[in-house]
Point group: C2
Chain length 186, copies 2
């Protein structure tokens, strides 16, 4: 099938909410092939960065933080949203988040992948990097005022156990740990 066989053309778009993190739109779309119209509920996001940071003793750096949408404290890899204008340089944004959230800088950075987190309703795209040869920053940029984080370092075996037990239950974090495990098979 061609793009035309799939494309949902916008009949109307209503702005429901314009926030600091997300914009919410409500579309009515024309289904292809004269199948009629359908509603689409959409959450637009500026994108984010995340980092698989590996220490010199082969541990992954994790942070625990409270997530209001879940009313829970969860483990994640260091991550943060792209500020306006940062889309042109997500690697710099990643290094900023790494410093703010962990006090670390990285001498070696490689890009792992970019992926959509929830394409059924959102355009959020995460740029995922690997950071190695980490060094402590003398006077790191402070965490955001409204972010309270606790930092952990765990081995691959420990990270896998946290996934198996359900204590790590964040898609980008599982994806990064799997990538790390696969890279050790190389």
């Amino acid at each position: 099938m061609n793009f035309e066989d799939f494309e949902e053309k916008t009949i109307s778009r209503e702005t429901i909410f314009k926030g600091q993190i997300i914009d919410v739109k409500f579309d009515t779309v024309a289904l292809p092939g004269n199948r009629g119209a359908a509603p689409r509920e959409l959450v637009f996001h500026n994108g984010a960065v995340a980092v698989l940071a590996i220490t010199s003793d082969d541990k992954i750096v994790l942070v625990r933080q409270f997530r209001k949408a879940l009313e829970k404290v969860i483990y994640e890899i260091p991550a943060g949203k792209l500020e306006q204008g940062e889309n042109a340089d997500p690697q710099a944004a990643m290094l900023r988040e790494l410093e703010e959230e962990t006090g670390l800088a990285a001498k070696t950075v490689t890009k792992i992948a970019e992926f959509y987190t929830a394409p059924g309703f959102s355009n959020e795209l995460i740029y995922l990097y690997k950071a190695e040869n980490l060094v402590k920053v003398e006077n790191p940029r402070p965490q955001d005022d409204d972010e309270i984080l606790e930092r952990y370092e765990v081995s691959l075996a420990e990270a896998k156990a946290l996934i198996a037990s359900g204590e790590i239950a964040d898609a980008k974090t599982i994806l990064a740990i799997q990538h790390w495990e696969l890279s050790t098979h190389a």
Copy 2:
């Protein structure tokens, strides 16, 4: 730190939007430790299911569909949202989606993981399964009227190439393919 050191208590909650797929809320929260108040933009979702379906000739079943939030056609593993009341039995919901999207049933089902897709703003939780010993359903339940899908089957090597080229750029799909690759090392 304890939960109290992280918890953001709700000062006020405003309902911005109540849709068929998402509810959007705007909270003002009290930061712990008398750090003041902060806004939280939240997208509530009923959860979803997804499936790593492996054919008898060791290929993964993928679907291509248009995603309005991206204005693109993307590759994903078969997936769908939980209907109201299905939360108690996500495996049944997964089998329904598999049949609707691919016309297949599975004799062997195992749970892989459950994970949050975008915990920074959403509570969407995906239940991911592996389905094997697939059989064609004689008269499968039809696709949803407003879903146009194209089905593909690719080998692990082909799936990895699609990730490397960026053509597969969906978090749950990459996570499932990496799981598949790791399971072949066992």
